[in-house]
């Protein structure tokens, strides 16, 4: 059974249909790419999957741990609790907070002490906070950010900010991770490290990953399957090799990006 089933998802803003009848299936453990020209509706799909926009019609179903939950119209924090985490295309870290706090905030949903414990700093509070701290540092060390835990997020270099976004999403303990252009603005060395990291966390965190990316070298190298979106419609679906030779895709991209890949 697929972990995520998207059925005829549609979103219109006023008269404009940004996404039209998109259907997708993601199997457990897969790394799937979502590509398409600018304005094709990729981020809108992400925003519907994470509850930031309510779909105009269609269905989103998440199946984890033997349970299926219908996600459309649910609030973002509920979707996060159900097991979908994301990063943002235009980095949205908690800029004026420390790296550590950025990660700890994502773990709030699993916190086991109540308001009063927090206000009186009870024993339960200290124990839980210590666990939280250890786990945050462990997660940060995956992307070698642990030594920067006390720096403000806004003071990190650009590439590390993107890494922190990934760590922050991982901290919510997702079963499905949505990455919105994780390599945007990175140089080739950073990009190649990033692709390694993505592969590594998929394996070690038992994740399913859906990835929006403009850098075709990344997509073609790491994705097992690709959906191509153009003008809000899925125009192709298949393995990287199939997509590379698909006439409609080449036409949508005017051939340019494909030849580079």
């Amino acid at each position: 059974m697929p972990i995520l089933t998207v059925n005829k998802l549609t979103k219109s803003f006023g008269g404009l249909t940004a996404v039209s009848n998109v259907s997708m299936e993601l199997n457990h453990g897969e790394l799937v790419g979502l590509i398409g020209p600018n304005g094709a509706g990729k981020t809108t799909v992400f925003n519907m999957l994470t509850g930031i926009y309510a779909p105009s019609s269609g269905n989103i179903t998440l199946s984890t741990g033997g349970r299926s939950i219908r996600l459309n119209g649910k609030k973002p924090y509920k979707i996060c609790k159900a097991g979908i985490a994301r990063t943002f295309q235009n980095i949205r870290l908690f800029k004026d907070l420390t790296v550590l706090d950025n990660v700890r905030i994502s773990m709030h949903k699993n916190i086991r002490y109540g308001l009063l414990h927090g206000m009186f700093h009870s024993r339960l509070h200290s124990d839980e906070e210590k666990k939280l701290m250890d786990k945050s540092i462990e997660l940060l060390s995956i992307l070698k950010l642990d030594h920067k835990k006390d720096e403000l997020a806004k003071n990190l270099p650009y590439g590390e900010q993107r890494h922190l976004e990934i760590v922050r999403a991982l901290a919510t303990e997702p079963s499905l991770l949505l990455l919105d252009e994780p390599a945007a603005g990175m140089n080739p060395a950073e990009t190649s490290r990033l692709t390694e990291v993505i592969g590594w966390i998929r394996k070690n965190f038992d994740l399913t990953i859906l990835l929006i990316e403009h850098d075709m070298s990344v997509v073609m190298r790491i994705c097992e399957r690709i959906y191509v979106l153009d003008y809000g419609i899925v125009i192709a679906e298949g393995s990287p090799d199939e997509i590379k030779t698909n006439q409609r895709v080449i036409k949508a991209y005017l051939g340019e990006d494909m030849r580079n890949a």
Partner: protein, 323 residues
């Protein structure tokens, strides 16, 4: 490591107790006279108000211009109860009842209005406080515009200290807990917070409820210290006064709020001698401070505890010597 923290904790409690005992001693020896005590009371009440508004505006990022409205609920509730049943017990009951009613109102107002962002929320809270004021102006039980003469004084240094220190400690603890971080994440980026699993509406309402509860306590302390309350004491200008303390101290800095409460009390008692231009100077100061230090005294940083203690004792000496 753990032992060190324990020693620090004991030290903290000891310092708190010592401050209480010293001031109490000075009060008993009549070194702190009524005038100074009134100033101390104003400072304590302003600290409670400012720290609680800081939780709403500075930490959670929800712009509120109606804090005096919550304060007035506490003041009137407590006043009405102690006027009927004058006893210390009914003062405490009235105080908590006032705080609970204020918190309840915070919840009722919070739920629908917290969808609003930024300025719109500010205007809505302003409107709410004005409505509360108009209601108090028109009720029989509150004696309308003439106000209530409470006539009994139960607020003393003990209660002031307990509630001021209590508010500061509990709110400081709160913002340093995971729940507090959830509130802060809303200020930083509401959409990202929501995407990271924070129920933003819930935490906004929680911040409002805690803030309103504390403002209710401050109102009750006010009513039973200054004998007399009327709706106009809790108008738009009072809400602004509180906001000024918070912004002056620094949004998101609790020690900043405390510092600013002291500072403004000192400025205002210095200006007592020029009643005619007191407000003019105050307003000019406000503009100048905002022009040259818009982030407030502390920004969002905190004074360390030890530094604050020594500063606190300087103020103590100053107050003691002013006689």
């Amino acid at each position: 490591m753990n032992k060190l923290a324990e020693i620090k904790g004991i030290k903290k409690w000891f310092a708190l107790l010592l401050t209480y005992v010293i001031v109490q001693l000075l009060v008993s020896l009549n070194i702190i006279n009524d005038y100074i005590m009134a100033t101390i009371t104003t400072i304590c009440i302003n600290i409670i108000l400012a720290v609680s508004l800081n939780l709403i505006t500075g930490f959670t990022g929800q712009f509120s211009l109606g804090h005096a409205g919550f304060m007035s609920i506490g003041a009137y509730t407590c006043a009405i109860i102690i006027m009927r049943y004058p006893s210390p017990l009914s003062f405490i009951i009235g105080l908590f009842l006032g705080a609970i009613l204020a918190a309840l109102l915070g919840f009722i107002v919070g739920l629908p209005t917290l969808r609003l962002r930024g300025d719109y929320l500010a205007i809505a809270t302003l409107g709410m406080a004005e409505i509360i004021r108009f209601v108090f102006l028109n009720l029989d039980i509150t004696n309308g515009a003439a106000g209530l003469f409470v006539g009994v004084q139960y607020t003393n240094w003990l209660w002031l200290y307990v509630f001021t220190a209590g508010t500061v400690i509990l709110i400081t603890n709160f913002v340093n807990s995971s729940h507090g971080r959830a509130c802060i994440s809303i200020r930083e980026d509401e959409i990202a917070a929501e995407a990271m699993g924070i129920n933003t509406t819930k935490y906004k309402v929680i911040a409002f409820i805690i803030g309103a509860f504390c403002a209710g306590i401050a109102g009750a302390l006010y009513a039973s210290y200054f004998y007399f309350i009327k709706p106009d004491l809790f108008g738009f200008l009072k809400s602004i006064d509180i906001l000024v303390i918070v912004v002056l101290g620094g949004l998101g800095s609790i020690s900043g709020s405390i510092l600013a409460a002291f500072l403004l009390a000192i400025i205002s008692s210095l200006l007592q001698s020029f009643p005619e231009i007191r407000m003019v100077i105050y307003s000019v100061l406000l503009i100048v401070i905002m022009l040259f230090r818009p982030q407030g005294i502390m920004g969002s940083k905190e004074l360390s505890l030890s530094a604050f203690k020594s500063l606190g004792s300087i103020f103590e000496r100053k107050n003691g010597g002013e006689r």
